[in-house]
C-alpha cells in the first residue's frame, strides 16, 4: 500500500467526527505530537486574528488549508513520536502549504546528526551540529539574508529573527534564506508546498508575525 492509499483509507474510516470542519473558509492546524512549545505559535496566530487548531488527527490535518509542523527538543525522540502516530507518513503526503518551524524543519530533511536520525526526506538536505568553535546552542537574534520566497514578502534582507538551535541545515538548492553562525547555513527551505524556517517567527517580533501572515497568504 502506498502513502496515498493509506491516507485515503484513514480518512474513509472516520468520516463524521470532523464534519464540522467542512465548509470552513480557512483553517490552520498546528500538528500536536508532543514536541515543543506550541502555545507560543498558537498565540502568535491569535495576535494575527487567526484561531489555529491543535491536532494530531490525520483527517483534521489533511482537511486544513495550512499546516504548521512545530518542534522543540531532541530529534530522535521527536521522530519516534511522529512514527508512533503515523504522522511520519502523513506529513510528506500533504498537498497544502506546510511550514516546519525549528526542529520541525530539521525533521523534514533527509537526515540529522542529532541521534543519527533519519528524517522525513521532504528536503534534500543534511542537518549537522555546529562545531565547538562557537557556543552551542546558538541562542538569540541573528539576521536572515539571500531571501527568495513569497514567505519573505516585504521582509528586507538582514532582518533579525530569534533562533535557538545546536544543529543547522547545510546550505543547499532548496535554501530560501541563509544565516551565519560558525558558517553560512540554510535558515529557511522551500520545496513545492513545503516550507521550513530554522528561526522562531512566533518569537521574532513584528517581522516574525509578518512571515506568519505571509504563510497564511500563500
Amino acid at each position: 500500500m502506498n502513502k496515498e492509499d493509506k491516507i485515503v483509507s484513514n480518512k474513509s474510516k472516520s468520516s463524521s467526527p470532523f464534519g464540522k470542519l467542512e465548509g470552513a473558509s480557512s483553517s490552520l492546524v498546528i500538528i500536536n505530537y508532543g514536541a515543543g512549545n506550541i502555545k507560543s505559535i498558537q498565540f502568535a496566530f491569535k495576535r494575527l486574528g487567526v484561531e489555529a487548531i491543535l491536532s494530531n488527527n490525520p483527517d483534521e490535518i489533511i482537511a486544513a488549508d495550512k499546516v504548521i509542523f512545530p518542534g522543540v527538543g531532541e530529534a530522535s525522540s521527536a521522530m519516534k513520536m511522529l512514527k508512533e502516530s503515523g504522522l511520519d507518513k502523513l506529513i510528506p503526503s500533504l498537498k497544502q502549504p506546510v511550514l516546519g518551524i525549528c526542529l520541525g524543519m530539521q525533521l523534514m530533511c533527509k537526515h540529522t546528526e542529532e541521534g543519527d536520525t533519519k528524517g522525513l526526506g521532504i528536503f534534500n538536505a543534511e542537518v549537522k551540529r555546529f562545531s565547538n568553535k562557537v557556543k552551542v546552542p546558538q541562542m538569540g537574534w541573528n539576521t536572515i539574508s539571500n531571501l527568495k520566497s513569497d514567505l519573505f514578502k516585504d521582509i528586507k534582507d538582514n532582518e533579525f529573527m530569534y533562533l535557538v538551535h545546536s544543529y543547522y541545515v547545510e546550505n543547499c538548492d532548496e535554501s530560501i534564506a541563509t544565516s551565519n553562525y560558525d558558517l553560512e547555513y540554510a535558515s529557511a527551505l522551500e520545496n513545492d508546498n513545503f516550507y521550513g524556517v530554522q528561526f522562531h517567527p512566533e518569537k521574532s517580533g513584528l517581522k516574525g508575525s509578518k512571515i506568519l501572515q505571509n504563510f497564511l497568504n500563500l
Binding site: 502555545k39 522543540v72 557556543k135 546552542p137 530569534y162 533562533l163 512566533e202 518569537k203
Partner: protein
C-alpha cells in the same frame, strides 16, 4: 551575525511586578504584561520573570501571568523562581514560557538539570548561579544569595554544562545592586570555560558597563533591572551606543 542580547528582568510577587517601576507613560506599571509589552516595543531582546515569592499557593497566579505574557508578547521570555521538578517546568512551558531558570533546586539535586534537558531540550534550561567572591574564591550561594555553600563557581558552571544546561545566568553577589559594573573577570573566565551562552547579571549602572561586559566579560547577554525600570538607561540609546562601539546588536 548573532547579536548580543539586552535582557530586562522583572521581579514578580503575587502576579505583580515589585521594586517600583517608573515608566511615566504606563497605565499600570505593576502589571507585568503591560510592562513586558512595553519592553518588547522598546527593543528588549528577551525578558526574564523572577517569581520572588514562589509558593505553592501562588503558583496558579504565576501560571496565569505566564499565559497572559505568552499571549501578548512577541519576544522570548524566561521564567524563574521556585521551580524544582519536571512537572513545574512542564506546566510553565505549557503556559507558553520559552525557557525556565533553576537555581537552588539544581544545587540541591543536580540530576534535575539532566532530567529537564532530556525531556524538554537544553535550549529551555537556564541554570542561574548566584556567587560571591570570598577571600579570592568564587562560591555559589543559595536562596537569593543568602546561604553560602562551599561549591566553587567554575566547577559548578562546568558541571551544569555537562548535565545539559543550555545557558548560564551568572549573578555576582559582590556586584549586584552596586551599579558599579559587572563582574567581568569572572564572566570572561566562565565564557572561556564553558561552551554555552552566558548571561551577565549584577552591577549594571551605566551604558559603559554594558560595553565592558560584552567586550571584557565576553558575555552573550546582559541582564539588568532597575536601570531599565527607572528609565536610567533607555534600551534604544544603550543599543545605539553598543553598536557605535562595534558590538553587534539588534536595532
Amino acid at each position: 551575525m548573532l547579536t548580543k542580547r539586552i535582557v530586562p528582568c522583572l521581579d514578580i510577587k503575587n502576579g505583580r511586578t515589585v521594586k517600583g517601576v517608573n515608566f511615566v507613560d504606563l497605565r499600570d506599571a505593576g502589571d507585568p504584561v503591560v510592562l513586558a509589552k512595553q519592553y518588547a516595543d522598546l527593543g528588549a531582546d528577551e525578558l526574564v520573570f523572577l517569581d520572588i515569592a514562589a509558593t505553592i499557593e501562588n503558583r496558579r497566579t504565576m501560571h496565569d501571568m505566564v499565559l497572559k505574557v505568552a499571549e501578548q508578547v512577541n519576544i522570548p521570555f524566561t521564567v524563574g523562581g521556585g521551580i524544582s521538578s519536571v512537572e513545574d517546568v512542564d506546566d510553565l512551558l505549557h503556559c507558553g514560557a520559552d525557557k525556565v531558570s533553576i537555581n537552588s533546586s539544581a544545587v540541591k539535586r543536580p540530576d534535575l538539570i539532566n532530567e529537564l534537558s532530556q525531556k524538554f531540550g537544553s535550549q529551555c534550561v537556564v541554570v542561574a548561579i548566584d556567587a560571591k567572591q570570598v577571600d579570592g574564591e568564587w562560591l555559589v550561594h543559595l536562596a537569593g544569595g543568602t546561604i553560602p555553600t562551599d561549591i566553587r563557581l567554575f566547577n559548578w558552571a562546568k558541571e551544569v554544562e555537562e548535565r545539559g544546561a543550555g545557558e548560564i545566568l551568572f549573578t555576582s553577589m559582590n556586584h549586584d545592586g552596586t551599579k558599579a559594573g559587572f563582574a567581568n573577570e569572572a564572566l570572561a573566565h566562565l565564557s572561556e570555560l564553558v561552551n554555552i551562552p552566558i548571561i551577565a547579571s549584577g552591577g549594571a549602572g551605566t551604558i559603559q558597563h554594558f560595553v565592558d561586559t560584552f567586550k571584557d566579560g565576553k558575555a552573550d547577554a546582559a541582564l539588568a533591572a532597575s536601570v531599565f525600570h527607572f528609565g536610567e538607561i533607555p534600551i534604544l540609546e544603550l543599543k545605539e551606543e553598543l553598536k557605535q562601539q562595534g558590538i553587534p546588536v539588534r536595532l
